[in-house]
Amino acid sequence: MTRALAMPAPLADADFIGIAGERAICDRRGVLYFPELKLLAVSDLHLEKGSSLARRGTLIPPYDTGATLLRLQAVISDYQPAIVMSLGDSFHDGGGAARMHSSFRERLEGLMVGREWFWVAGNHDPDAPADLPGETVRELAIGSLLFRHEPSAVRVEGEIAGHLHPCARIVQRGRSVRRRCFAGDGGRMIMPAFGAYTGSLNVLDRAYAGLFRRETLMAYMLGTERIFAISRSMLRPG
């Protein structure tokens, strides 16, 4: 059995961790990269969340899709992955892909050129996105890894999932810091939400009950320049 290992400091942008024996880089921008597989995993893009809310009368800025894609573009150009795995809830609702502004659609299609692209079905977007390339799957196993949207209630070693939007909170010197995070116990990993308008849920919330081994749970909190590996005992609810 593998354990989450915090690599000795100092580390630059990224932090190598092990998940079910596979080596991965936990990028501070909220993506996972598996160098041996040339695979980039990203979760919960929630594209077109802005226009989804606008339909219901909340006219928040229509730039979230553009902002999310720009950030995605940056990590893709850094890692040049052969495979991109979008772990579900890629669009905020089923009509999202159809609503997308043409300039954003072009940007997204540009990113997909020359690589394998998988849309894992999520609860927000159970069907394939309209008129976009890429393959839509319910889940996908590669080597010892299993990629799916919702973490399964039964423990699956090597499962990489999203859906819960984990964040973690610590208190130091009387101040509280809350950040999005990767949550992992060495056996499975839940990824942070990547979308510009996505909120987050504390890893100590009841929704995560039973998913992790308590003793080895680590929150890899996203810092502005690096990832911070924080053990469960330091974490606070709320």
């Binding site: 915090a6 909340t58 006219l59 730039y63 939007h165 130091q172 330091m234 606070r236």
Partner: protein, 883 residues
Amino acid sequence: MAGRQDFGDRSARAVLLRREEGVRSPFVPILLGDCAPPRYLWRVTEQPRLAEQNAAVHLPEPFLRWFSQKGWSPRAHQIELLATAQAGQSVLLIAPTGAGKTLAGFLPSLTELAGRPRKKPGQARRGIHTLYISPLKALAVDIERNLGKPVEEIGLPITIETRTGDTPAHKRQRQKLAPPDILLTTPEQLALLIAAPDARRFFEDLHYVVLDELHSLVTSKRGHLLSLGLARLRSFVPGLQTIGLSATVAEPDELRRWLVSQNPPGGMAELIVVTGGAKPEISILDSEERVPWAGHSARYATPEIYSEIKRHKTTLLFVNTRSQAELLFQELWRVNEDTLPIALHHGSLDVAQRRRVEKAMGENALRAIVATSTLDLGIDWGDVDLVVHVGAPKGASRLAQRIGRANHRMDEPSKAILIPANRFEVLECRAALDANYLGAQDTPPLVNGGLDVLAQHVLGCACGAPFHANALFEEVRAAAPYAELDRPTFDRVIDFVATGGYALKNYERYARIRLNKDGLWRVSNPRVAQQYRLNVGTIIEVPALNVRYIKAGSKGSASRGGRVLGKIEEAFLETLTHGDTFMFAGKVLRFEGIRENECFVSNAPGSDAKVPYYGGGKFPLSTYLAEQVRIMLDDPQRWKKLPEQVADWLRFQADKSVLPKRDDLLIETFPRGNRHYLVAYPFEGRLAHQTLGMLLTRRLDRAGARPLGFVATDYALAIWSLADMGWMFRAKKPSLSELFDQDMLGDDLEAWLAGSWLLKRTFRNCALISGLIEKRHPGQEKSGRQVTVSTDLIYDVLRSHEPDHILLQATRADAATGLLDVSRLAEMLSRIQGRIVHKNLEQISPLAVPIMLEIGKMPVHGEADDTLLMDAATLVEEAMGTK
């Protein structure tokens, strides 16, 4: 007691009005105390035209009878106000508390309604005659009680009702069908009323709008919303008259303009000023104890405060913040050997608890009340014979207002004691005290109306009835805060309301209001109006949790029945862990945990408790008072009035360093430990200093000084660094005049602001007020963090994609006047050009001691959150390394 002072006057019978006898000089103003009346009042007094007009005042017989039965006579200003109103003018009445302002404000309505023929059966309903608007719900309720009494005694056929957030739905419904003659309400309720489809008809019979505590309303966004509502009412009823009631203010003309249409600009309401009140007896506590260098608790003075409480009937203790209130209350009970009834009152306490305290106060059952600004406004309770102000008052006007609470009769002197919490506050108290004797006023200047508020109003208008943009623009410009609004900005606000106003036109099909072929803007569906009604108002609540009692150690869910003590801000509770103790509601409590919207606590013995901090509620030192403090420092003659230990401190400073001249900025640099310190003494208030600190550290960083952090107080700013800043300034790398150059307010400010939490917090308020996002409502909050979009995220996206968006424009304007106090900083930077005095010292100066003591006690700015994460991560790494 034969009635309240508000409705007449038992002692000053300077004026007796009998129409048949002719007028016996009702224009001799009642000048109490020894203040000379202001010149404009003399002018009013001597004008024969007004005297003639006054002879025509119509005070109906039943009123005269009532006054004489009571043994009272109407006061000069009451009659004068009546005359002005009867002549068809709007009017501003400025008077100290206890001058009978309320009766004066209602006299025109009451007399007019008294003379109105009775409604015949079958006659169409009569609409509201008078609208009274106050900033506090409690005040409206208070007025209903107080006004009801004379109305009943005089036997007037007048109906008076309140309409607030607490009014049950069926009563509101009934009020729409059968409106009262006089409706007492709040600015938010007015906004709701004018957004209703029947608004024009509802207000068609309106004659007067009485605006109470106008000085406190106009300085906030509530005031902006109210001014727009008033403009709307004026368009319904062109001849509408307003009557403003206000405490003394620095610039009465601003309020006079506010009361009448400013389109075309320049009109002013008539002005009636009642001066004086007896000169208050104010003293500064000259403590036997040592006055501390720093801190805000004034703990040293507790025994002396307690003995004053014992010597008086009822003492009102004012503090500046809720934290100080909790602390002082605890301290007093620690020494309360006689178990005197001492109570606590502040805005976070449970409403029921506050009402109990207010009731006990009205019944004179309390000996002392520790209170914050919640008791500042015009509610008068019981027989307070002493006001104790703990901590410096921060503004001369605020001091005057609070002292007015004691002995709520304007012709008897109020008694007050100021308790400075530290040495700088001694200076500040002295300056405030001198200012009060001089009758100085330092209320803040009015600012331009917020665009977020305008957006809310535009949507409200559309909910009421379709509008034409041209007509609404002219109407809005009649509201004083929006008199200078230009058309392009107005059109952008409409665009914002319609589709969000984005350069990327993506939301046309989701528009909330649409321009129809007839040139009118209409709401696109009824849901928009529903949403509007839920989000009306400009008061943004900081996320807070109920604090509920449970038994120690029990699990929250098992004992839901405990009492709610009040609300505490989430941000504070987030820093607590199970078992931590803190002070709240006058108790020491143990933190048991948080479950949904509630924080569970149990009783805890012990004294080592934290004090909750609260966002806001802390006033910065006023510009006027700051100047007074600088003048005092510059004039050793005036030090004689200061306590000996404080005067000694200043002499010591003159010896070791130098005292800043009135218009100079003193900068001291000195090494200490392995750090180098810069201490500046601008005396411009905490907010401006905080902004200055942010900007200076950026510049010092660029200059290679390697600054580590800074703290700001109301008086001074301290920055510490690794490099020797004293040497750098002398070598002119950079020179101090370069460092303090005004251009820091350009790019540096922009760059810093971009990522600042200050701006994010301001943006959140603008987003909520403008209706961009919806307010959280009780009951619907548990939708989960991952579903709602936080305004911080929206801010980041909007700033990087459309930095000129109208909401960001509104945010920057707000921040500049609010949390950042940029305008004040700008004035300071221009004042000190060429007047910077640098003292490079071997060691810390006496004047620097207070701020140096704050280091470590106050949050240090410039420390990034990532540093804290690093600490936590390092701990983990260490722990894992030892395994």
